[in-house]
Amino acid sequence: MSSPLADWSESPAWLAPIPTSDDREFWVGARNGELRIQRCGACGLHQHYARMLCSHCGADEIAFVVASGLGTIYSFTVIRKNGVPPFRERVPFVVASVQLDEPGARVLAAMPTTAIESVAIGARVRAQFRPVGDEFAFVDFALDSA
C-alpha cells in the first residue's frame, strides 16, 4: 500500500539556507535548475558540499561544474516520526545518500515525491529542485524513470 505524498513546497524561514561564499553557487544553481558541484582541476574528481580545497587530493584548483543530476542510491532511511513542523506533517518520507555519476561526489537529500515502498539501495535517481525563498532552491531526488 502506497502512502500519500505530502506537499513540500513551503518551508519555514529557519530551514532556509544561509549561503557562504563557498557554497552560494550551489544554492543559486539549484534555483536555476542545475545541480552545481565542485570539480578538482588537479585530480579530476568531484565533491559536494562545497569546500575550499579538494577533499580527494587537497589541491585548491576547484571550480563549480554543472552535474548531470543523475546518480545511484548509496544508502537511505525512511523518516516515520519527526515532531518538528513542517516535517511532522510530511512523514513518512525518504532521505537518501546519492552517489552521483560524476566520480567522487555524493549528495544527501530528501526524496519527497517518491513513494517509500519503491526505494532501494542501488536504484537510479535524478535531481529535482524545490525553491526556498526568492534566491535559492533545495536539491531533492526522485527515482529516475528514464
Partner: protein
Amino acid sequence: MSDRTLSRKAAIAGIGQTEFSKDSGRSELQLACEAVLAAITDAGLTPSDVDGLVTFTMDTSEEMEVARNVGMTEVSMFSRVHYGGGAAAGTVLQAAMAVATGVADAVVCYRAFNERSGNRFGNMTGRITTLPPWLSWYAPYGLMTPASWVALHAHRYMERYGVTNADFAPIAIVDRTNAATNPGAWFYERPITFEEHQQSRWIIEPVLRLLDCCQESDGGVAVLVTSTERARDLPNPPAVIAAASQGATFDSEMMTSYYRDDLTGLPEMGVVAKRVWSQSGLTPSDISTAFLYDHFTPFVLMQLEELGFCGRGEAKDWATVERLSLGGELPINTSGGLLGEAYIHGMNGITECVRQIRGTSCNQLANVEHALVTSGTGVPTSGLILSTL
C-alpha cells in the same frame, strides 16, 4: 615503550554517581555536584584536594559553579571535551594528561543531565532559530534525530555484509540480561528474549527496532583521576589508565559524516583502537571485559570490527549471546550498558569498568585484569583501557 607514554601514569581512584531515573526532580547542577562529591569521597579525599575539573562541552554545569558548590578552593586545570557522548573517555584522557605532567594532582571528570525529563536530544521543537553549520546540510531534509542519523550508516553496513536486524539482538539481550541483576539499572529485573527483540516496533525499518535504541535517562556520574603513585595509598584499588585516546578522521562529523567514502565502518574508533593497543601493549585477547558504547546496537557490531575483536563484516557471526555474556569470551556492558542501566552519555561505562577492576561490580567477573571502555560512536570519539595495579 617511549618515556613519553601516558600509559600507567594515572589511575581512577574514585567514582561517584547519582541514582539513574527518568525524572530526577532536581537541577543538572545539583546532579553534577552530588556525583562529583561522591567521587571525591570514594577516593578518600576532600574537595580542597581537587585541583582540576573536566566535563563535556554539552554539559550545562559550569566548572566554577561545581567548584563553588562542592567547596573546592584552588583549581589549576579545567577543560572540556567536544562531540557529545564521544567525549566520555576523552575527559579521563585530559585528566590523566594533567596529573601525569604535574599540572594537577587530582582531577574530577563529570557529566550530569536531565536528558529524559529536561532537554531531550533530537527534540528540536521550538528550540531552533538558525541551524548549526553541521546540521545545515541535513536538517532541511528532515534528518534531525540520532536514530535517523545512524540509520544511513547502518543500512549500508547491513547491505554490504548481509546483516539483518536479528543480528543486532544479541547486544540488546546481553545488555538487558546484565541490567536485570543490577539494582541500580532502570531495567532491573526486566530481561528480554530474542522474540521480544524481534517483536519490538520498528523505529527505522529495516535497521532499528525499539529495543536496539538506548533509553534516555536523568543522572550524574563522576570519576576522580590522580597519579598511580598517589592512588596506591588511597582506600580503593586503583583502576590504572593503561591507555587513553581520542579519535577522529578525515570527514568526521557529529553523527552524520555522510560525505566520507565508506559508511560501513566507524573510522574514529579505528583511530582509538590503534592508539590504545599500541599505548598499552595489549591486544584484544588480553581484555577481560569491555564497555562498548551502545546507543544503537548496529554500532556495537561495527565497534567490535574496528577494535579488532573480529574482521570486517564478521561481527554478525562473532557477536553471539554466549560470547558476550558474563563468563563468556568477552563479557560486555556488565552493568547493562546504556540500553539497560542508564544513558549517562557513556560515563557510567567507565565507572562499571572501574568496579570490575576493583572487584565490586554487582555482576563481578573473575580475574579481571584489563577493561576496555569506548565512548559515543558515529562522532569523534575516545576510548580507555583500565588495568589492575
